[in-house]
Symmetry: C2
Subunit: 171 residues, 2 copies
């Protein structure tokens, strides 16, 4: 059993939170959703999630992996200092990180992308490149601890690779 952390902001892309959230639960893992406060957060399509923690309460050392959904949520939380602190921990420790769509905006602001290979929503490709990374137009890119995808139809490939990486990391 692993402990999986999600970082969520308002107007997240609903399926990009709900699929990996339920998928990790299906695997038998414990999921924690962190958000700006304890107030419920609503996705672009109206699904609502009740956060388990506020960002400032999160000790990232307690978690085995990090998942960053997309939508408009990442832009709303990328400047938060606790978000940056949390994300840097996972990269410093080489723990599995999954990001999709606009999720990599958070990785840009945390300053963890130099020299990395990834994909993202095509609209932020130039920002990813300007952060020092190589951008690839593929359904899923696996680069060491980082598993990225572009859009919701990539979710099956994205989670197939992330589940595999997580199983290896937990052995």
């Amino acid at each position: 059993m692993a402990r999986i952390l999600f970082l969520v902001g308002p107007d997240y892309e609903d399926i990009e939170l709900l699929y990996p959230l339920y998928r990790m639960q299906e695997e038998g893992h414990e999921t924690t959703v962190a958000a700006p406060s304890h107030e419920p957060v609503k996705g672009k399509h109206g699904y609502t999630v009740k956060p388990d923690k506020a960002f400032e309460e999160v000790d990232p050392a307690e978690y085995h992996a990090l998942i960053l959904p997309g939508g408009r949520g990442p832009e709303r939380i990328r400047n938060n200092e606790h978000v940056k602190r949390i994300v840097r921990h996972f990269f410093q420790q080489g723990k599995p990180v999954a990001a999709i769509c606009h999720g990599p905006q958070i990785l840009i602001s945390a300053g963890v992308l130099r020299g990395r290979k990834l994909t993202s929503y095509p609209g932020i490709k130039d920002d990813v490149v300007n952060a020092g990374a190589e951008w690839l137009d593929q359904p899923v890119v696996v680069d060491k601890n980082l598993v990225t995808a572009r859009i919701p139809p990539d979710i099956p490939a994205w989670m197939r690779e992330f589940v595999k990486l997580l199983r290896e990391a937990m052995q």
Copy 2:
């Protein structure tokens, strides 16, 4: 690789279609979404799916398993004669069937529930019982080929059991 059929009507519960759709693709299966016509169908939360087939074009013998999402879609398609024909095939052949939330309304109208054990959205419990079945208040109920669940938070348990059943059926 299995071929998986989904029956979808307008105002389906988005996550109850999208999770199993992507989950089956993650498993490497081929998914087919059937609907009243070839027109795109919109879920309650605004996600849209482009049907692969109209109900009348479906030969159920071509598929290994059937999935029935919930929401308001099932009530909109339960009286369709082709829907009933398709559903009866899966029960006559004992092929895996997954249904959630209001999905069992389709099973009621197809007349396949007598003597079966299942769960559903609690609001249609009495209809399930009047159709000759035993209703259980559990996240997931597995009764031979039939795997049922109540509401979206049951999805992890629902799909965990369905993936297991499908793997056994495909051996």
